[in-house]
């Protein structure tokens, strides 16, 4: 059963999800336009092993969480937008919501201001039709994707801020 789902998803990953992720990446970058302080945009399809691991998760009573994982798992495509400053998170969120329709929106707040962690938003958005390459049937594409907008507070993030000040996308 696991092998069957793994094979089905692996084919979907290669022929449907990866091409859509590439188109969606370009679409998000285009919609963000010249918004300032965006460090990077990345869009990825969930890898087959991670999908299968999630598909077989169970609730606290031991029942399967997903009866139809191919339809129910909403983060088969995940996008992430990293910004430099806390106030940019909301600027980007508003911009994204101009162009995408959400069915979920959660604020991500670190336990404390002094903790290394993330401040941002988690959204589940309808996948726009134009993000589906023409050779892929619309019914084969996932209906939604997950998007996170984050400001990185880690040391790595601080280093990126310092180096990105000189990069063309930081303006």
């Amino acid at each position: 059963m696991i092998d069957g789902l793994l094979a089905e998803y692996s084919a979907r990953y290669a022929t449907v999800l990866k091409p859509i992720a590439k188109e969606l990446d370009a679409l998000i970058v285009d919609h963000l336009g010249d918004v300032s302080h965006v460090d990077r945009v990345s869009v990825r399809a969930k890898t087959p092993d991670r999908f299968v691991a999630k598909a077989y998760k169970r609730d606290k009573n031991g029942n399967p969480l997903y009866a139809e994982p191919l339809y129910q798992i909403q983060d088969q495509i995940g996008a992430r937008i990293i910004v430099f400053y806390k106030h940019d998170v909301d600027v980007i969120r508003k911009k994204i919501m101009e162009y995408f329709t959400h069915i979920e929106m959660r604020k991500l707040v670190p336990e404390s201001e002094w903790e290394f962690g993330y401040f941002g938003f988690h959204l589940v958005l309808a996948l726009p039709t134009e993000a589906i390459p023409s050779e892929i049937k619309i019914d084969d594409a996932p209906g939604f994707f997950e998007l996170q907008i984050k400001r990185c507070l880690s040391m790595l993030g601080l280093k990126q801020i310092m180096t990105s000040v000189r990069s063309p996308r930081s303006t």
Partner: protein
């Protein structure tokens, strides 16, 4: 036949009425004329319902939607009790203006699962019965349904109607213009919104216009598209689909093809969204610069600085222009291209 259950309810206008009750309802037999009509709608629902919608999250931004939960419960039990809750919800958002309606809740096992809701409005009519003595009995009735079987509202949901899945559907309103559909049927009853936002839909349409205009091989086609782009701006605030708009304009087949090809996918020509003129103008804009010597330079705003190279010239060497106001520096514009058209115009504007 894939239809497994049909329930029907008379839905009374009950918006703003404190005590609401939806009683009764019936199971419709899976044969006969009513069934045949509904089966016809059910079979073509996917192509008939062209407006992509998604359920709204709750105010906390969670994936919780009361109407969706009702539909899921119905899909699971297919009982008249759960169907009645759907009818009660429709009644609670129905105004006197919308009037009485006949709601059908149709469930089936088409491929995965398909759930269709259709509302037919009440109409007025006469019943005439001939009597044996050549007399007639004429009666006026107010609750005639399906007098026009093509005037209805409908929505269809496909796929596993289960948690996490089933957040989108397709709707149609054959009674009124699309604007009212989004308010009463989509917004109030289904607690949903259009899948395509005003900015996304308008930008896509505008970019298609811009690319089609740029790529137009001959001048008449370019002019057709430019005129159409100007006319489209009049749709500000209206809920449209590009296909309906261009059909309404009587745009040439060549121009429609050019626009369709400029879209990333043909299907987006049919997607419905609220048109936003301000967004359209951001993407289909022409910059026109008037110079003190009488010259007028016009080009696509995005490419203006590439098409016309400009540099400030030294006031000592530049030709002086009579009557020139020195409010801006003397600027030299240069461009290189082939003449494809030139016209005399009676007026500059």
């Amino acid at each position: 036949m894939p239809i497994t259950r049909i329930h029907s309810f008379l839905v009374k206008p009950s918006k703003n009425i404190a005590i609401q009750s939806t009683k009764g309802g019936t199971s419709v037999p899976l044969e006969g004329k009513v069934f045949d009509l509904l089966a016809g709608l059910y079979d073509k629902a996917e192509t008939d319902c062209k407006i992509d919608i998604v359920f709204r999250p709750n105010e906390a931004g969670e994936q919780v939607n009361a109407t969706r939960t009702m539909l899921m419960r119905y899909a699971e039990s297919r009982s008249i009790a759960t169907a009645r809750l759907i009818a009660a919800r429709l009644a609670a958002v129905t105004t006197r203006r919308s009037g009485f309606g006949l709601l059908f809740v149709v469930a089936g096992d088409h491929l995965k699962k398909r759930l269709m809701l259709s509302r037919f409005p009440a109409d007025e009519g006469m019943i005439v019965e001939e009597k044996a003595d050549e007399d007639m009995d004429v009666r006026f009735i107010e609750r005639v349904f399906m007098k026009n079987a093509h005037a209805y509202k409908s929505v269809v949901y496909e796929g596993p109607l289960e948690e996490h899945a089933f957040w989108s559907g397709k709707a149609v309103d054959k009674q009124v213009d699309v604007k009212e559909l989004s308010d009463y049927w989509i917004g109030d009853f289904l607690e949903s919104k259009l899948k395509t936002t005003p900015s996304a839909g308008t930008k896509r349409f505008a970019v298609a216009f811009r690319d089609a205009i740029r790529g137009a091989a001959d001048l008449p086609l370019k002019q057709d598209l430019l005129s159409a782009a100007q006319l489209v701006r009049g749709q500000d605030g209206h809920t449209i689909s590009p296909q309906n708009v261009v059909q309404g304009m009587g745009l040439s087949g060549e121009a429609v093809n050019a626009l369709t090809q400029a879209m990333r996918r043909e299907e987006v020509m049919k997607e419905t969204f609220q048109f936003d003129k301000a967004v359209f103008d951001q993407h289909v804009a022409y910059r026109s610069v008037e110079l003190s010597n009488g010259a007028m330079l016009t080009a696509d705003n995005a490419d203006f600085d590439t098409i016309f190279r400009q540099r400030q010239v030294d006031d000592q060497t530049a030709p002086q222009v009579e009557g020139e106001t020195p409010s801006s520096p003397l600027t030299e514009f240069t461009t290189v291209g082939r003449i494809v058209n030139q016209r005399l115009k009676s007026s500059l504007r």
